[in-house]
């Protein structure tokens, strides 16, 4: 313990408040090691979190006490001592003697003596168990049917969805690919009076025109060669329920007319049929294309557009509801843990920061794919940067950060800092956490940016 005081940075500290008492009273676990990795200090919180008494920990190799997912080859202390750097807010897990895995966030730094020589390292760690439990409770409150989110953009839709669903009105879902249009269509069905009926989904863009007609409307025996018997179409299969017509913007002109008749008169004729069949299916249509433009170009019938456009729900892209990303990440992790029988605790803080910065052109589907990929490489603990696909790795994030504007290193740094500040709505501590720098460094960088006029 005495050695540790000698290593501690010189600071003005009230004599009546012993440094040891301060460290003993903080909620974070703190331990220090010498250059042989023997533990030289272990505070009370470290005892509580690891479940190991200080008297047993002192003098032992740190890996025999800490049992973390980084011990055995990826030691944070070794890394920061080797590089003379600091590691901050890395999410890992430790295994307690009672067999429980405890998620912790660690920070590590080298310890130097008065001559600046490295004489060991210090690691602090925070128990994330409570935080994770609270997060789960909060997440359970934020969702609607199977849709996860609590952003303002989604809240607006959630508020009107029950009323819309209870009506029999045709619903048009507009949104980019991967925004979860089918999920919303299912929600409309599940909340409607037709919930006991079937939900039939058809991707209008996935079938050739000739096949699509017989798929949607069915055919009668003898309608064409090899049509030996009657075949019910999807509208018939959806009787008493809901039919979801995805990619409606790709519907060929001939079928647009037929669909218009279904919408207007609630009847259709199967291929080869001689009398109309009543349609008893609610229609929910969706597209990622701009229907108004298609109408203006003559590629989509205006009357059909207005028939479909009774209730339109515009689904926001993920980049417009970034606050939902942590919820979605945890949702998918729980899902994959259950399906693949794995024990992934979450994503590390640097991975979350990276995901929050990513633009997600593929929206929720892209996020889901990223996590599915990560699950292949990571089976327990926290998903780290190295578990992510190459397409989203930090090198690319840095490229996008510079936006191809180039400039001196100082200018690039300034842009990065200012954008991080913007992303965090001016909150300096959050910006520091995202960038992994101290408050002082941030203050100095902002001062330099102001002096050089870099933006």
């Amino acid at each position: 313990m005495r050695e540790f005081w000698a290593y501690a940075a010189p600071m003005s500290f009230p004599k009546e408040l012993p440094f040891e008492d301060v460290l003993a009273s903080i909620a974070d676990g703190v331990f220090t090691v010498d250059t042989d990795w023997n533990i030289t200090y272990f505070n009370e919180s470290a005892e509580r979190i690891t479940g190991i008494p200080a008297q047993e920990a002192l003098g032992q190799k740190c890996w025999d006490v800490f049992h973390s997912s980084l011990c055995d080859g990826s030691c944070a202390l070794r890394e920061c001592i080797g590089s003379s750097g600091v590691i901050s807010g890395k999410s890992i897990f430790i295994v307690r003697p009672d067999g429980h895995k405890v998620p912790v966030s660690i920070s590590a730094a080298p310890l130097r003596n008065a001559d600046g020589e490295i004489v060991g390292g210090v690691e602090t760690f925070r128990d994330l168990t409570e935080l994770q439990l609270m997060r789960r409770k909060v997440e359970d409150q934020y969702g609607f049917e199977d849709i996860v989110g609590h952003s303002e953009a989604l809240d607006k839709i959630f508020r009107i969805l029950p009323q819309v669903s209870r009506s029999e009105a045709t619903v048009l879902l507009l949104g980019e690919s991967g925004t979860g249009k089918e999920l919303f269509a299912r929600a409309v069905h599940n909340l409607s009076g037709r919930r006991e009926g079937p939900f039939v989904a058809v991707n209008c863009g996935a079938l050739p025109d000739t096949l699509l007609e017989s798929e949607l409307f069915g055919y009668k025996a003898g309608a064409f060669t090899d049509a030996k018997g009657d075949k019910p179409g999807r509208f018939e299969l959806a009787r008493g329920g809901t039919i979801f017509l995805d990619e409606i913007g790709d519907l060929p002109a001939k079928l647009q007319v037929k669909l218009l008749r279904v919408l207007q008169e609630k009847i259709y004729e199967p291929l080869g049929g001689v009398k109309p069949v009543p349609c008893d299916a609610r229609i929910v249509a969706a597209t990622n294309r701009d229907l108004e433009t298609l109408v203006a170009e003559g590629a989509f019938r205006q009357d059909l557009y207005y028939r479909l456009n009774v209730v339109t729900l515009r689904l926001p892209p993920l980049r417009d509801r970034r606050e939902d990303i942590p919820l979605l990440v945890n949702h998918f992790i729980r899902e994959y843990n259950a399906v693949q029988d794995k024990d992934v605790q979450g994503v590390s803080e640097d991975v979350m920061a990276l995901l929050l910065r990513h633009d997600f052109p593929g929206n929720v589907r892209e996020l889901e794919n990223i996590l599915e990929f990560s699950f292949i490489l990571c089976s327990s603990g926290f998903i780290q940067l190295e578990h992510l696909p190459d397409s989203i790795r930090p090198s690319q994030a840095v490229d996008s950060m510079t936006d191809g504007q180039g400039g001196t290193l100082e200018e690039i740094k300034c842009r990065a800092v200012l954008r991080a500040l913007e992303r965090n709505e001016g909150r300096k501590m959050a910006t520091c956490r995202e960038l992994g720098i101290s408050k002082d460094t941030l203050r100095r960088m902002l001062q330099r940016c102001a002096e050089t006029g870099a933006e």
Binding site: G51, I52, Q60, V65, K342, S380
Partner: protein
Amino acid sequence: MNDKQLVCLACYEERLASVFDNADEFRFYQVNEDGICPAGHLSLPSKDPMDRTSAILACGVTTLVCGALCGRTERQLINAGIAVRPWVRGSVEEVLDAFERGSIETLAMPGCRAASGDATRPGMGRCCSGTGLGRRRGTGLQKATGCRAGGVLKKKTNGGK
């Protein structure tokens, strides 16, 4: 103790891995009338505990000696019929010596030593319950100096974290 055992050490470099999930190699040792002999090793590219359990079972392991082990994996191994001796530390050489002497509890990790006094203190967890695996002195088995002298086992190195 069985007459013939296949013991697996979950290792990182030349010591037991501090956490079973972190082990980069399983080393196998045959324990029989002649003593303890190396019986091969298995590199572990996958960190999936399920893959590891499957590998142990596929190799016919009867006893696993390892470092920290989470309850879930321990239960899987025990349910699969493996005798598990977790929360052990030390170099491969030290562990085999202790196993042979039947005193593997001397290598218990901090916080896992024999409980004494206040049971509410930290360190009185499940890991304290040693299963007493290993060869006992006076059982009539001879120390396998022939096998152990084969140069397969190395002395403890400085093995990093």
